[in-house]
């Protein structure tokens, strides 16, 4: 109990050292910063050694026993563990300028191997499967009414924004009149879209979402297309792409705020609950 309290106090004081940075950079913060660099490096070293190097290199090479019997690890013969071990040691020649070039040999295997490993899974996960998902219809929508309003509203906003982006670049410059116009227009378009959609089946809503998804994807791809000037159809698509990109970044922004606040809540909870037992 008391031992845990002492450790918790250490953690709490270090937490406060880091927060002192909010006032300004100071020795307490620097102390914590350097301490954690050392502690984490030491921690990683120990974990790497006991979890990997010891069972996969040291023990097979020196034929040390595993659980009572001299087992070849994963069928590893001692020399099969020795070769990568030696190659790994060659990496350290970089600290000796004269023979530093030898260190490129294992590095070559390492860099090349990892490059080769990635190619096909990345092609499959990021390109082919995404392409396939983009051209397949969505699964059923649970609440057609909510989906209808959302899709209609989204579509209306999309149409209005496209209009302003394509025809009138500077929405802010036109002042309040234009903003009111935009609101009225989107409300009218939203209601219109809603009426059209409710006339359709729930599947129509799904299709509308699908079309938005496809248009957004094509727009984004068009935005990142560099071999032609952005004019005409390509220019229009790229403008649409920018809208989607910005809404996407907005979503990331909102989520990122959430993320950082969560970390703060976690630390405050540590200070108030785990350390001071106030709550």
């Amino acid at each position: 109990m008391t031992l845990t309290f002492i450790w918790t106090t250490v953690g709490a004081l270090l937490t406060l050292c880091v927060y002192s940075f909010l006032y300004k950079d100071n020795p307490f913060y620097k102390f914590a910063e350097h301490l954690v660099v050392g502690v984490s490096a030491g921690y990683y070293l120990v974990i790497y050694y006991f979890n990997f190097i010891d069972p996969n290199v040291v023990r097979p090479v020196f034929q040390l026993e595993l659980g009572g019997e001299a087992v070849a690890f994963g069928g590893t013969e001692w020399w099969m563990a020795l070769i990568p071990g030696l190659l790994g040691l060659l990496l350290y020649t970089r600290f000796f300028p004269k023979i530093a070039w030898v260190g490129r040999w294992p590095l070559g295997i390492y860099v090349g191997g990892y490059a080769g490993l990635g190619i096909s899974p990345v092609m499959q996960a990021r390109v082919i499967d995404q392409m396939q998902a983009a051209s397949s219809p969505l699964a059923g929508v649970p609440d057609p009414f909510a989906a209808a309003t959302n899709a209609a509203l989204g579509f209306a906003i999309f149409v209005v924004l496209t209009y302003f982006l394509l025809v009138k670049r500077h929405i802010v410059a036109r002042g309040i009149a234009m903003s009111i116009g935009a609101v009225v227009l989107s409300a009218v378009a939203g209601y219109g879209g809603y009426v059209v959609l409710s006339a359709l089946s729930a599947q129509g809503v799904v299709s509308m979402t699908n079309i938005l998804l496809v248009v957004g994807l094509l727009g984004t791809l068009a935005y990142f297309f560099f071999s032609m000037r952005h004019a005409g159809l390509l220019g229009g698509l790229a403008r649409i792409g920018i809208i989607f990109l910005m809404v996407g970044f907005g979503a990331s922004f909102g989520y990122t705020v959430m993320s950082r606040i969560s970390l703060l809540i976690g630390r405050v909870s540590f200070l108030l609950t785990d350390w001071l037992h106030l709550i």
Partner: protein
């Protein structure tokens, strides 16, 4: 004109969605009649399973010892008499005998993997349904033999697309090496960078260029150094001070080389000030704090953030905004883009950073990758559009062909 095309567009969309909706209507399964209650004494053997097929299974570690059996369930399994309790699977090396029992699987199962096959030996398989007391007639299939395969056919699509893509990249790289004019559109962000530098010159204040905190082998850092060279040439011409803070020692020496060379090329080697290329700290927050210090003390009029940034992006862009500098940013770290977009005057989004560096350097390896990716995007768009049309037409074979695993 605009309105007319919008109207056409909306009509098209509605038409398309109706088409899509009808394409999506799933066939409704027809409810079959229920079987009579199981009160009649069971003397009849169940109806047999049918359509047994056996194929050599190809998995990731193909030792040729796996053969996959599939069959159609007996009509008495979940239908008819509903008295099937399981299926016996048989394996023989001759077509005449039923051979040994391979396995007994429970009712409702319609596939089984025999993983005890000897590679190259032809086998004959049979399946019989059982109700616990009697066996049905058999469905047989054979001969089939296991093989150690040299190609996973289901991954053909990956191979084909990767091959096309790589051919494009290599072809464009070769073209660029031969000096062909490959068109890359000018990135608007470059104009913004030049304007920002011009503004700093007018005001007689320095330009701050942060190449990110990535290591030297990070492609974003490499792209950033290309753009740095371009910026350095402009600042050399106007003799505007250029401050380059770095977070990695190696990046600092690379930046020194780049800037020195650019000043020499612009004919102003004397204007180069080595004290302005600085290594601040490897630690993320310490680095951000030190750069913020530079912004507040030396008051640069233009802040350029191009390269790999993590959480420090926010700290930098906020202070720069507050200090009233013109800010241009560019990174391929998608998670940091929102902060740059809101707090900077112009932001190069993702791939635009690479495109800008390829545009400026005209280096074949950069151009090749960029053009190859561009054309692959066109192919992707084409495939998506064709996929959608095929889907609307009710033919999913095209999309299915890309289904791997």
């Amino acid at each position: 004109m605009m309105r007319a095309s919008l109207a056409v567009l909306s009509v098209l969309i509605v038409a398309l969605s109706c088409g899509w909706a009808s394409a999506q209507d799933d066939p409704v399964p027809i409810e079959t009649g229920l079987a009579p209650p199981d009160t009649i004494p069971d003397i009849l053997p169940p109806a047999p399973a049918t359509d047994l097929t056996a194929v050599d299974l190809v998995d990731n570690d193909d030792a040729g010892d796996k053969i996959e059996l599939t069959w159609t369930l007996s009509p008495d399994d979940a239908g008819g008499m509903r008295d099937v309790t399981g299926y016996y699977l048989w394996r023989s090396e001759s077509p005449d005998a039923r051979g040994d029992t391979l396995a007994l699987v429970v009712a409702g199962t319609s596939s089984f993997v025999d993983d005890t096959a000897v590679p190259g030996v032809p086998y004959y398989y049979a399946v019989t349904a059982t109700d616990g007391t009697s066996l049905s007639g058999e469905a047989a299939f054979g001969p089939v033999s296991g093989r150690r395969d040299w190609f996973t056919v289901s991954r053909l699509a990956v191979l084909v697309l990767a091959a096309i893509f790589f051919a494009l990249v290599l072809a464009f790289t070769r073209l660029a090496e031969k000096g062909a004019e490959l068109f890359v559109r000018r990135i608007p962000g470059l104009n913004a960078i030049e304007e920002a530098v011009g503004r700093a010159t007018e005001m007689g204040r320095p330009v701050l260029y942060v190449p990110g905190i990535g290591e030297i082998d990070n492609i974003m850092t490499i792209a950033s150094l290309t753009i740095l060279s371009h910026v350095a040439k402009i600042t050399a011409r106007y003799e505007t001070p250029l401050i380059v803070p770095t977070a990695r020692a190696v990046v600092m020496s690379a930046a020194e080389e780049v800037v020195k060379e650019a000043y020499a090329e612009a004919g102003k080697p004397d204007a180069y000030n080595p004290d302005n290329i600085r290594y601040l700290s490897d630690a993320q927050f310490a680095f951000a704090g030190a750069v913020n210090g530079i912004m507040l003390r030396e008051r640069p009029a233009a802040n350029l953030y191009l390269g790999a940034f993590w959480a420090e992006s926010l700290l930098l862009a906020e202070t720069g905004f507050e200090a009233g500098a013109i800010q241009v940013a560019g990174t391929a770290m998608v998670s940091q883009l929102p902060f740059f977009v809101t707090a900077c005057d112009y932001t190069l989004l993702g791939e635009e950073l690479y495109a800008a560096s390829a545009y400026l350097s005209r280096e074949p390896k950069l151009l090749g990758g960029l053009k190859g990716s561009d054309w692959m995007k066109i192919i992707t768009i084409g495939l998506i559009v064709v996929g959608i049309i095929m889907n609307l037409a009710g033919a999913d074979a095209f999309v299915e062909w890309f289904h791997t695993n």
